[in-house]
């Protein structure tokens, strides 16, 4: 009888402790990082009174001493708050997590010590009730290390790979059959503009945008310059290429020189064709505007990424009666070009220009691939909108960036 009574008393003491003690505690290397971080997770306790805190404690040895890393409120840090790492499952709202990157220096509490990669640390989670009672879990060991793949970017990786494969397959397929490419009026007009300049005996002015060689728009612009230079060399028309960036200028020099060489007119090439107008935006606009007014080019070709100088250039070009062809993916400036230029290449038309002018099957194939990619995006957008409207977020989660 006495034993039974003792047993009941023991149970009455242990059951509340078990109810407050964090369970299913796990510690592991924090995923998707360069290391130096360990994640601890534990099961949420629904019966805790308001004001309860969790203590996250760390030790460098299995037997302790454990150092308090952080105290957090019992209703915070749920795994559902970090869907990039833990996903969108319903169970994520039943677990807490905490990332530990450093802990207080045992020798000097004002300093912290960073978690080292490859070293074993021991973790305990404690529940501190409003009454002050503290119940700790067992200690769990874990090591940090650098990861080789960021899984939160898995959707990005798959999408990028799929699009790349579509484009590369389209390029491969393009070698075997002729591809249709819709008419791009701005590019069709290039020959007309160059011909007009030749007839009038006036120069052709080519302006890049303001971005450097790292920008896709500038690369596309340089590709177009290559085609334009070849035609001006063939037509024996004066070409002027105004630059704002030294690297772009150096590349343009090479591109124009090679184009003249390929057109069989190396004698017509001179170093002054490609020049640096100015490195500052408005000095550049003033220099090019001044040149337009003085030299009155018959054709004004503006390709690349433009900023506020777009209207200054295009309006001045319109005032001197030049035939103007612009192309930009800077959609802020598109309205200005559309209102002041004869032809405008919009957005990706600028990237397509090189393929369009060269009619090279491999380049045209990439355009085809782009269109297939666009069709895929459209389909996903439609399905995502439909599912989301019906309350199903699975497709939205699949395409969410973390």
């Amino acid at each position: 009888m006495r034993k039974i009574l003792i047993g009941i008393v023991w149970l009455l003491c242990v059951i509340p402790i078990c109810a407050q003690q964090p369970e299913e505690v796990k510690a592991f290397d924090a995923p998707n990082d360069a290391g130096g971080s360990i994640t601890v997770t534990w099961k949420r306790i629904d019966t805790l009174p308001p004001g309860t805190l969790y203590h996250i404690a760390l030790s460098e040895f299995p037997e302790g001493p454990f150092h308090l890393v952080k105290k957090i409120a019992s209703e915070t840090n749920l795994m559902s708050d970090a869907p990039g790492t833990f996903g969108h499952g319903t169970e994520t709202s039943q677990y807490h997590f905490f990332n530990i990157t450093a802990f207080p220096d045992p020798g000097d509490s004002s300093k912290t010590v960073a978690i080292e990669n490859g070293k074993t640390y021991y973790f305990q989670i404690g529940t501190q009730l409003p009454s002050g009672d503290l119940f700790f879990s067992n200690s769990i060991p874990a090591q940090a290390f650098g990861n080789l793949f960021n899984q939160t970017k898995l959707n990005n990786f798959i999408l990028g790979t799929v699009f790349s494969i579509i484009i590369l397959v389209s390029i491969y397929m393009a070698r075997r059959r002729t591809l249709f490419i819709r008419r791009i009026a701005g590019l069709e007009a290039l020959d007309e503009a160059l011909g007009r300049a030749t007839e009038m005996g006036k120069p052709v002015l080519f302006t890049h945008g303001l971005t450097g060689m790292g920008s896709v728009s500038t690369i596309a612009a340089v590709n177009i310059l290559s085609r334009v230079a070849r035609r001006t060399a063939e037509f024996n028309t004066t070409l002027r290429v105004a630059n704002n960036d030294a690297v772009v200028m150096a590349v343009s020099h090479e591109v124009v020189k090679e184009a003249y060489l390929n057109a069989g007119r190396p004698d017509a090439y001179n170093e002054d064709i490609v020049f640096m107008a100015a490195t500052e935006q408005f000095s550049y606009a003033a220099a090019v505007d001044g040149m337009m007014v003085r030299e009155r080019p018959a054709a004004n070709i503006m390709m690349g990424y433009f900023f506020a100088e777009s209207l200054l250039l295009a309006e001045t070009g319109a005032s001197i009666g030049a035939i103007q062809i612009a192309g930009t993916d800077s959609y802020t400036q598109l309205p200005f070009f559309i209102t002041t230029c004869d032809y405008t290449l919009m957005g990706e038309e600028l990237y397509a220009a090189s393929a369009y002018l060269a009619r090279e099957p491999k380049l045209l194939g990439s355009l085809k691939g782009q269109d297939i990619g666009k069709a895929v995006v459209l389909l996903v957008l439609l399905m995502g909108t439909l599912l989301s409207t019906l309350g199903n977020q699975s497709l939205t989660h699949l395409f969410t960036a973390y």
Binding site: L210, T211, G212, G214, S215, E280, Q281, F282, Y305, F307, A308, S330, Y331, T332, A401
Partner: protein
């Protein structure tokens, strides 16, 4: 007469625009300025940072050309930060922004008695745009070993504990070019996941809405109107508030010219085959 109205000489339009700027600038009439939610969001974020004694990085990515539009934003945000004891680190992705940023720091630090090194630090310009941001995200002290005055950033109180871009409580880009969507968002915010806000010229503002909706940007001040709204929020009217008068009138003038052009087009131009 109808031909004249159909094809008004652009110099006449220029005269109207000039008068529309000059006359309202010399006169005073009140205009209601109501802060929009995107401007309010920047203000609220700075208030939150003030509560935790945090640090803001301001990137002055504009030049003298856009100074009238963007500099009032810089002055207002600095006034807000220094008034609320928020620490500020300034930098430039545009070399021409250095003088303007220095001017803004000098002006506002004198007003609030802010101390260099403890309340704010100015790093100056470094080339590289996207690559500089990548370097700053990875190792701030390596990317900017020294400030503009040659002090080591590891020793200055404001920058001592900043290891990477993640350690800033807020990054605010004041821009007149493509640094927000071309550099700060893809190479900074997307990678290092810091809170990001933008103040930009009016022409750039419509382009930024996709980033606002996606949450990559939490606030936006667009053009002089955005700057004026921030001035209202910090209760310190400045050049942006004053600029609302000429801007309002010039907008009206342009609209009137567009209406006139269309009326003439419908009355006469269309019969002629278009103007």
């Amino acid at each position: 007469m109808k031909d004249f109205l159909l094809n008004i000489d652009r110099r006449i339009i220029f005269v109207f625009v000039a008068l529309g700027v000059i006359i309202p600038s010399l006169t005073e009439f009140p205009l209601p300025i109501k802060p929009t939610s995107t401007v309010q969001s920047i203000y609220d974020t700075i208030e939150e940072i003030a509560a935790k004694n945090g640090t803001v990085l301001i990137s002055f990515d504009y030049g003298p050309g856009s100074m009238p539009e963007v500099q009032p934003m810089a002055l207002s945000v600095l006034r807000h930060c220094f008034n609320k004891k928020v620490k500020v680190v300034g930098m430039c992705l545009w070399p021409t922004g250095v003088g303007l940023a220095q001017l803004a720091f000098d002006t506002v630090s004198k007003e609030f008695g802010a101390q260099y090194g403890t309340d704010y630090v100015f790093l100056g310009f470094k080339p590289g745009y996207t690559t500089l941001i990548l370097n700053m995200g990875r190792n701030f002290h390596d990317a900017f070993a020294q400030d503009l005055q040659g002090n080591r950033t590891t020793e200055l109180a404001v920058t001592r504990n900043i290891k990477g871009l993640k350690d800033f409580d807020y990054v605010l880009c004041l821009a007149a070019g493509n640094t927000p969507d071309g550099a700060w968002i893809p190479f900074g915010q997307e990678r290092y996941k810091f809170k990001f806000g933008l103040g930009c010229t009016a022409v750039m503002a419509p382009d930024q809405f996709p980033y606002l909706q996606s949450g990559q940007m939490n606030g936006l001040m667009g053009g002089l109107a955005g700057a004026a709204e921030y001035e209202v929020l910090i209760k310190t009217p400045g050049t942006a508030t004053e600029g609302m008068r000429p801007q309002s009138i010039v907008h009206l003038i342009i609209i009137l010219f567009i209406i006139l052009g269309n009326v003439m087009y419908f009355l006469h131009g269309r019969q002629k085959g278009g103007a």
